[in-house]
């Protein structure tokens, strides 16, 4: 794989992470990180949506009339989101989690990462790099989601994937961790760690 593609694939995971560096998609990362399972399903859904929308729009990029390009993007992105929602509803294993995530699956449409990457990347690049860029940005988002959800489920409910971990040792669950503000505190800590590693992100 040539270095440019590698950069496209790896940059959004850490150096240019959509949540911690671009600070996009904060809203849903507060809402769906109470349980690890929810975060995992959400992460996969976003990866699919960002990847496929970037691919489709990159294929269409030369034919889209520039005056209505945002509308065309919206139509394609909403189609992907509805498809993901319909598929999640169809499987026994994911039906309950889809109900639990309820509106947040539909709200992937409004996730700035999706539209942001299409505008910034897919409309100016070939389909294959666009697909990689979409997938990688979804994965970067998902990674942070899973880290946050790991701590929130572990400290908030004493479980991981619903299996008792800390609960076995008589851990008293912390309700603050379940509430949305704690996700912000955790996100703040993650950004702090990243900025102390990556000095070029620090403002003078």
């Amino acid at each position: 794989m040539d270095s440019k593609l590698k950069e496209t694939l790896l940059n959004p995971i850490f150096k240019g992470n959509p949540i911690t560096v671009l600070v996009l998609g904060i809203c849903s990362s507060l809402a769906v990180t109470v349980t690890l399972k929810g975060a995992l399903v959400m992460a996969l859904s976003v990866i699919v949506v960002t990847g496929l929308s970037s691919l489709v729009l990159s294929l269409l990029r030369n034919s889209i009339p520039s005056r209505v390009r945002i509308i065309v993007q919206l139509v394609v992105v909403s189609m992907m989101v509805i498809l993901v929602d319909q598929v999640l509803k169809s499987f026994e294993a994911t039906y309950a989690i889809d109900k639990q995530l309820s509106v947040y699956i539909g709200l992937i449409i409004t996730n700035c990462i999706v539209m942001g990457r299409i505008e910034a990347f897919a409309l100016g690049n070939k389909p294959f790099p666009s697909l990689l860029d979409g997938l990688a940005n979804g994965a970067g988002y998902g990674l942070i989601l899973i880290i946050v959800a790991f701590f929130r489920e572990l400290l908030g409910s004493g479980t991981l994937f619903g299996i008792d971990i800390l609960n076995r040792f008589g851990y008293v669950t912390n309700n603050l961790v379940i509430l949305p503000p704690f996700a912000l505190i955790l996100l703040g800590c993650i950004i702090w760690i990243q900025r102390s590693i990556q000095k070029d992100l620090q403002e003078k």
């Binding site: 034919s63 889209i64 520039s66 209505v68 065309v72 498809l83 319909q86 509803k89 169809s90």
Partner: protein, 283 residues
């Protein structure tokens, strides 16, 4: 090609929208039967949760097939009643016929007189004499519905489960997500003689000296979810109102039953005196 002229733009957007619509319609149609099966198992697990056969999480962990099987084991009869509270058609227990939210919505319109149609309200009676009926109404953002289970005195609530389409997470959504809220219903008594059959009140339901909720027809509303609480109260009021005639008739029938059958120890204390009088006269 000039992609900026008007006719190109119009044709392009039209084609895109029609294509997307076709894809979505096709996917929706081909996944429909799977989704309906999931929804049906979910509805059944809601009824079983209301009837206190287990918690929703337990049923979720069991999987669809086991939930349907459990329902098959526990259900005694299921039928519809008309507006006068008379028993109508039987529902198909074999195929585990239940009502989807969409069907409840239609019945809700009929009850409220917004739509013409035959009143055919479902009643589900389980083998342990628990009767489960649905409720349906409007929350803040979308429909809310659920199931309430009654003991055979037809007024004491055994349990309740509520679901919603799009209530606010953490506030209105607590009618579904907060087991404590649903637990408040247990032991409460619907009052079919009063104009307020069941109330969800702000500022605290009546409590006894120990601070426990008095088992009347009032429970506490959810803080921060006034509209959802009011909507739920209205939904319960409207639907139990529609069932009132049937419930009162069945409560009376149960009371008579225990007077007639002396071998059975009298189950209704209030009626005991009446029963004794009757038997004395017969002697």
């Amino acid at each position: 090609m000039n992609t900026n002229n008007n006719s190109y733009t119009v044709i392009y957007t039209t084609v895109i929208v029609v294509l997307v619509a076709a894809v979505l319609a096709f996917v929706s149609q081909s996944l429909k039967s799977r989704q309906e099966a999931n929804e049906k198992a979910d509805t059944i697990s809601q009824m079983l949760t209301a009837a206190a056969f287990g918690t929703k999480a337990e049923f979720q962990a069991m999987g669809n097939a086991a939930v349907l099987e459990k329902y098959g084991e526990e259900i005694d009869m299921a039928f519809t009643i008309d507006a006068e509270g008379n028993k109508n058609d039987d529902l198909d227990i074999e195929s585990k016929q239940v009502y989807s939210p969409a069907e409840l919505k239609k019945l809700d319109y009929i009850i409220k007189g917004k739509q013409q149609g035959e009143t055919a309200l479902p009643v589900f009676i389980f083998k342990n004499d628990v009767t489960v009926v649905p409720v349906y109404g409007a929350g803040l953002w979308g429909p809310i519905w659920g199931y309430i289970a009654f003991k055979d005195d037809m007024k004491t609530i055994v349990g309740a489960y509520f679901d919603h389409d799009s209530e606010t997470a953490g506030l209105g959504a607590r009618i579904k997500d907060d087991p404590d809220f649903q637990h408040e219903f247990v032991g409460e008594q619907a009052d079919f003689e009063s104009s307020e059959i069941f109330e969800i009140v702000k500022g605290g339901a009546p409590k006894d000296a120990q601070g426990n909720s008095i088992k009347d027809n009032k429970i506490d509303a959810i803080t921060g979810a006034t509209m959802t609480s009011k909507g739920l109260e209205a939904a319960i009021g409207t639907w139990l109102g529609a069932y009132a005639k049937y419930f009162t008739a069945r409560a009376a029938a149960t009371a008579e039953d225990c007077c007639g059958d002396q071998a059975q120890s009298c189950c209704c204390d209030a009626e005991t005196a009446g029963c004794d009088d009757k038997t004395n006269e017969e002697e």
